[in-house]
């Protein structure tokens, strides 16, 4: 080997250089993407505090010339939004409580108790996820109509007490990750499964229950189809239906529409930032699914 003749790589050929260039390019793309993700929300907020003249002015402005906070109060008072909020909170609370209790109960059965046909029944649970909602929607509506429940909250509340496939699946995964020895030891001490579920297991899977609770909150808060179908009295409207109706009545008043939309989306945004981890938890479980 000839000394002093080692070819020193040019700086742009080094690995570090290539990596940092990649990182810079990726960062620039992500920055642009982040703008695309966040811009509609910023713009919704800015529009909500503009005057109607400013919204209609040409060329359109992005940043408001003047922040008109009154829009929020005016929008809120142009429809019974306080009432809608209370209704929504009521339905959401019952939904969260029922889903968390019932689905963890069912999931425990599938995870920790041995009984005949268990795996076949669990396959059935999973396969119900494939049924398009509209196939069962019509007969379910007819059932509730025959029971005289249309026009009440019962159709929105009662089904929540009978479990939902995805949440059973998710909670079962968490129960499965807990060692069977806990259950066996408790059984030797004379405990039955109800006691083990309530006193031993539920406290251990609190994070998973929080995940289900947050998912249910989100679903119930945003539920549109259910209230649209079953609620026909304005005093029973939820926020989603109230907002949709509000849209019909204040068609061109975008500042009010945007203010009301911000207020309806805000709780979800706040919960997202507080409980991000638990949103992601639900995602990670999905990845565990193979075939």
């Amino acid at each position: 080997m000839q000394q002093g003749n080692i070819i020193k790589p040019k700086i742009y050929q080094t690995r570090q250089f290539k990596e940092s260039v990649t990182k810079i390019i990726v960062t620039i793309i992500l920055l642009a993407g982040a703008w695309v993700a966040i811009m509609p929300l910023l713009w919704m907020f800015f529009t909500s505090v503009k005057s109607m003249e400013e919204i209609m002015s040409y060329p359109p402005t992005f940043f408001p010339k003047k922040f008109i906070w009154r829009n929020y109060i005016d929008a809120w008072n142009s429809a019974p939004f306080t009432r809608y909020t209370l209704n929504t909170l009521f339905l959401t609370t019952i939904g969260v409580i029922s889903h968390v209790i019932v689905n963890s109960f069912i999931a425990y059965g599938f995870a920790k108790i041995g009984f005949r046909m268990k795996s076949k029944l669990f396959t059935l649970v999973l396969s119900t996820m494939m049924i398009p909602g509209f196939v069962t929607l019509i007969p379910t509506y007819i059932l509730f109509a025959k029971l005289g429940w249309v026009g009440t909250y019962l159709p929105l509340i009662v089904p929540g007490f009978f479990g939902s496939a995805y949440e059973i699946f998710l909670l079962r995964q968490f129960f499965m990750s807990l060692p069977d020895e806990y259950v066996e030891a408790a059984k030797i001490d004379g405990a039955n499964h109800f006691y083990i579920w309530a006193k031993l297991m539920v406290p251990l899977i609190k994070p998973a229950l929080l995940t289900v609770g947050i998912m249910t909150f989100n679903g119930a808060w945003n539920d549109f189809l259910g209230p649209l179908l079953y609620v026909n009295n304005e005093m029973m409207y939820t926020l989603q239906i109230g907002l949709q109706n509000f849209r019909g009545t204040v068609q061109t008043q975008w500042h009010y529409l945007m203010a009301a939309s911000v207020l309806v989306l805000l709780p979800v945004i706040i919960i997202f930032f507080v409980f991000q981890k638990y949103f992601i938890e639900g995602m990670n479980i999905q990845v565990g699914v193979k075939g």
Partner: protein
Amino acid sequence: MSSLQKAEELQGFIFILPWIIGFIAFTMGPLLFSLYASFTDYNITSKMNFVGLKNYITMFTKDPLYWTALKNTIYYVVIEVPLKTIIAILLAVMMNQKIYGIKLFRTVFYLPSVLSGVGVYILWMQMFNPTSGLVNTILGFFGIQGPAWLFDPAWSKPAVIIMKLWGAGGTMLLFLAALQGVPQQLYESAEIDGANAIRKFFTITLPMITPAIFFHVVTSLIGAFQIFQEAYVMSQNGDGGPVSSLLFYNLHLWNKAFEVFDMGYASAMAWVLFAIVMVLTVINLTVSKYWVYYEGGEK
């Protein structure tokens, strides 16, 4: 069976009882009822008259709006599902780099996907407003005269798809979790063999996350066929938008069921949708053997 085993069986049964009741009352029962209803002319107040295949025949031969709705839905599914999958994979790969502020990026991209409902639709209706909307304003900076979006039959579906792509962050997170499970040694040995970034992506990254891609494609296909709310809210209470361009399958079904109360016809429509979704899912499962890679060869 010992008494201990019997007690175990009984408790197991009690634990899953709520699901069994719910399955019979809200799944099995409704399924059977709607299958029967699809062969009748039922409007809730009338008697159920058996009419054989009449609803199905009407659907395929005498209801032009049915075909419009089906075509619109297929258009939506064929564009939205692959586009969202590709965007989410690319985002996930970028998010998987060690970059300054990556956690913040992840949060910002993920946020839109948890937002839904009427508030989001109102926001996007204004985004797509032809004159005062942000989308056309930005296009204007580049000298592009934007279309009328939701008011233009050619652009109303793309508008809805763009809105849905805004929520790609949820799928991104799914793929990111899968990416983080890819063993680093694979990349290291590929580098020793002199593989470049693109080569590594196609021979390691992509095959290793095929289970997550498969899961996403199966579920999002089922979901996309059921698009309803977006079109209902964004097209003036379900009229289907300009020239019925936003009349999706479930919107047409909804109008048949709850506007004209033709429950038999709507049930028949629902069963055809069910059949489409089932066939596609079975095809998906069958084809998956050829492209989904499971570590350790488990199938």
